[in-house]
Amino acid sequence: MSYISKPKFQHPDLEENEIGLTRRDYEGTLTTLCGGCGHDSISAAIIQAAAEMSLEPHNVAKISGIGCSSKIPSYFLSKSHGFNSVHGRMPSVATGANLANKDLYYVGISGDGDSASIGLGQFCHIVRRRINMLYIVANNGTYGLTKGQLSATADLGSKTKSGEESLYDNIDMATLAIELGASFVARSFSGDKQQLIPLLQAGLTHKGFAFIDVISPCVTFNNTDFSTHGYKNTWENYISLSQVDFVPMRKEITTSYEPGKEKEITLHDGSVIHLHKTETNYDPYDKENALHHINQHKKKGEIATGLLYINQSASDLHELQDTVDKPFNRLNNHDLCPGNKVLRGINETFR
């Protein structure tokens, strides 16, 4: 569909957000993915999340690897810079970009092939380095662009469209992220906008490495009755550990919640995440507990979703390395060059 240009028509009554932008200002180019692809729902959720938060699009940088998932950045926030890099290497590009300018929002989009196979090493290390960004894996358990091979997140025993069965244990990106030190880890489903949008907003606001594993069915190659990443299986085995509401810093909290099952998480900028726990003993601050819950549900064939783990006080790479407040890409000669007088002194140490 890439030859069709996106219509510029805009409904005159389209609502403006706090910075005077409408939803259209957050859109991207027309999708070239298959009709019904879960990834398009992720784009739509990001568009809505960013518009509601009144993010300035030009202050967002979108970075991806290669694959169907990595095309997603084209389909949202066309006023943002984007970088579609090489397969499995988005984390390194995002790390460098973040180091160069700490003042932007960074959204990394990857897939299960991109992050769990070819880029697993880079994924592990970006988690360790605590890059301040939102890292989304659009997880469909299959290689779509190369026509339906099994990916490393495909569950043991699940089958491709052509009937090939996965003989190997799967890699769970969410538990991996928790174990490696990510300070915000969530899982969601592209079909559940209500849950995904507040998670995206919280992930964007969170300071530190925020990871969301989004089950995003591949309608063409992995949406059969026996694929665990299809719509049917996901809806049937979907367990939400908590309902999530995101309240940006500027907004007054008006909703009231049932006491006892309510958890309020304040982020560094004063924004608040409200968790309505469906499992009362679930504690998103406790790593061990989170891992236990995810694994318990997995044993039952269920997919635990929602905000799985959070630590609002973790440092990001810039804090760990104690870098200056001014972004590196705005430092000039005066800031960076020690000059000839200093060099004369350095020469003396080599005599």
Binding site: P57, G82, S92, F328, L336
Partner: protein
Amino acid sequence: MPELVHSTKVKSIPKVNDFVVKFANVNGSGSASANNMFAKAVFRMGIPVSPHNIFPSNIQGLPTWYEVRISEDSYLGRREGVDLMVAMNEQTIKEDIDAVVPGGYVLFDSSKSLNKELIRDDITYLPIPLKNICLKEFDRIAQRQLFKNIVYVGALAAFLNIDFKVLTGLVSDQFRGKEKLILPNIHALELGHQYASENFECPLPLQLRTSNKNKGKILIDGNTAVGLGCVYGGATIASWYPLTPSTSVVDAFSKYCKRLRIDPGSGKNKYSIVQAEDELAAIGIAIGAGWNGARAFTASSGPGVSLMQEFLGLAYFSEVPVVLFNIQRVGPSTGMPTRTQQGDLLSCAYASHGDTKQILLFPSTAKECFEFAADAFDISDRLQTPVIVMSDLELGMNEQVCDQLVWDDKRIYDKGKVLTAKELDEIEKFGRYQDVDSDGIPYRTYPGTHPNKGSYFTRGSSHDGNAAYTEDGDVYAEVMDRIALKFESALNYIPQPEISDIDKSRLGMIYLGTTTSAIQEVLDSLAKKGISLDTLRIKSFPFHKNIKEFIDSHILVYVIEQNRDAQLKSLLKIELNANEDQLHSILSYNGILITAQHIEREILESMPTLEATKDVPA
């Protein structure tokens, strides 16, 4: 064994300020700093000196050599043959003694007697009971081992007439802040000096005389100069993966950043160093930073550069600046990790799949390592493409005498064609890959510059002038042709070759990098035989057109390089359509710096062929 000395009636050749001292040691025995002290003492006496560290890929136990060329004439390449061998390694002592030229010397530890088969009648032995001296004088085991090295330096001072004050000055400088180490070290030097003075006729006919050749010079290794050049060139981000022989580039950058890149107000860092999980990530980080407008680099060598190929193609095609220092070592594969080679010329010139080309810079001195490092960032930003600085182990890891470093305080970093918000407002439409100035170099924007103008999507997939994805072959070809034009424009920004007067001779030499260290010696030696040659030193790739003119104005040009496959010659043929018949390869690829003697031999051997070519009309 004093009888060994007295029984030897060897005719020693007197040599002043022109000889080679080689130290044969066991890796990890603490010899490096003692040997370095020796070289630096020669430097401080004002005599040109070039140490060459020939070391194993090992931490402890394998043989290691430190070869010091001393040359009043400033011939700072390697020279064949050893005049004085400090033979401290029993594993290699046979070959080490064999390497000494007739009339030369062997200093050895006479605490244990020398095997008879090691005794030659054409060299002089300098037995010093190093182990016994140290056993007697020092209590601690570690000191007994370490100070053997310092004792032989003290002995060398007596043998070669090194100003003892220079040595004590060096010890004081080396242990500044650790004062209690100064006295024992000076004591060890004195022990050696005293033993040599009392037991031998000192100085030897082989000796040093204070000179004035090092005025305005420094003794520095190339990798340190690169690290410093990155600080001066405005790099803020270094991402790397440890790999010999490139590691010390980032070590130096780190050291100088800790001194020079701390914000005085806040105490915070104006730099970041990320030790990446591999070389793919290392260059990926640098590219991400370059895309976002910060100057970033990575340093590596053969195996790491091979891993970076895909990313180099991305940066070439999506036009992102990044600087890569390739400190070449011996390949293929793991090769000889601690030996030198110019073996990556072809693989770097066209790094990555598809039609690619990369900008290469070839420093030949430590001073150029500093200058080219800083220049690389300007060139890369200006051309929006990777720049690979092609150093090698020889240049990177060995100290050499070079002119002191200078920085022009009026110099402003050239960040290239980057549009500001104001400039975006002034133009009608921004297209990332449009050739606005007809020089093939497009305009770019940094993320976050303007609320609704100037954003674009960077991709390694085919794109049009506005960075939009395309599968239209004609549009793709247009972009590829524009990038080719950009590489024509590159010639305006990359350093010109250094060319001697070209009408002097019908013969020429082309070379680059560390091969340069041998050239003056070759020219002077051949001049004595009545042969003169014109020279051209290449400093960058793609090649300037005057290189072709140089080739065409000579009947024969020697292309001298340190690899098996004559990669530079291939590049000259591919890029300049140079005539094979006019090019004669002189190659060296044993992992050790090419010598003037080797080059001269090859030139002289080619002379019969040359005679034949004289009849051919020019």
